[in-house]
Amino acid sequence: MNPAVAALIERSAIADWLGFSVQEDDGGLVYALAFDEIHIGNPLIRAIHGGVIAAFLEVAAQCEIAAALGPRAIVKTVNLDIDYLTSSRAQPMQARARITRMGRRLAFVEATGWQASEKKPVAKAQFRLRIGSAD
């Protein structure tokens, strides 16, 4: 795994709570949210909590920045907008994050999560992140 991404996940307790993991394919990094009963929002419809989906996509967006900037990167989310495009199921979720624009102090990242098929996104979020370096 990219060492900067590994370091970010290692120091992040919420990544552990999410069951967050990363793989790489030809299209880049693919992030995964493990299914866990604690991620369920409404037990009657067995959907993943919308806030949990947002948190998952936010960690994915931060990892994408870390992968681009390296292990000394400092990443802090300023704000986010998330659209819930379809209902989720009690299953794992995958996501990709794409850097729309990265400046010296600010980055814009779009993250998309899906379950059954990447062609059917469950949620799409835009993040604005304050970035810097520990150096």
């Binding site: 992040s12 307790a13 709570w17 009657l44 947002a54 907008d81 998330i82 819930y84």
Partner: protein
């Protein structure tokens, strides 16, 4: 429970409160405690547990979004005249300040309007003791989604 909430909604919220605080693992770990429930408004106090930090003892913003989505959904229910399933359409969250793990936070939300089956909600999250503003948010919810009639989107 205040009397201006529709009785059927009030009964559901009472049930939801028991379920939130005693049975459901996510909300149990957040130790949700209602402070105010009125028609179109809800205030809850919540824990910010160490399990949700981004580094050392700083709470990850994702927990703030989890809390606000939850309380926003409950707030929509307080505004309804009859029990209907709801679903989050979208959220906008601004992270204003960092919070340390172990603190208690207050989330206050109001349902601004329910028009044409769309509920509009806004709210904020503050540190309970100091009043420090942690995050502000706004969201919209679909009212009357397909699904279990007694469902609550939380």
């Amino acid at each position: 429970m205040t009397s201006d909430i529709h009785p059927s909604i009030g009964a559901m919220l009472n049930n939801a409160r028991d379920w939130l605080t005693h049975e459901h693992s996510l909300f149990q770990s957040l130790n949700l405690e209602p402070v105010l429930l009125g028609k179109g408004k809800a205030t809850f106090v919540v824990d910010l547990p160490e399990a949700f930090t981004s580094e050392e003892d700083v709470i990850h913003g994702g927990l703030m979004t989890i809390i606000m989505d939850s309380i926003f959904g409950l707030t929509v229910f307080t505004a309804l005249e009859e029990l209907k399933p709801i679903a989050t359409i979208n959220l906008r969250i601004d992270y204003i300040a960092n919070a340390k793990a172990g603190a208690r936070a207050v989330c206050a939300a109001q349902c601004i309007a329910v028009n044409d089956d769309i509920a509009h909600v806004s709210g904020e999250l503050k540190i309970e003791d100091s009043g420090l503003l942690l995050a502000t948010g706004a969201g919209s919810f679909m009212v009357g989604t397909r699904g279990p009639v007694k469902g609550s989107r939380l």
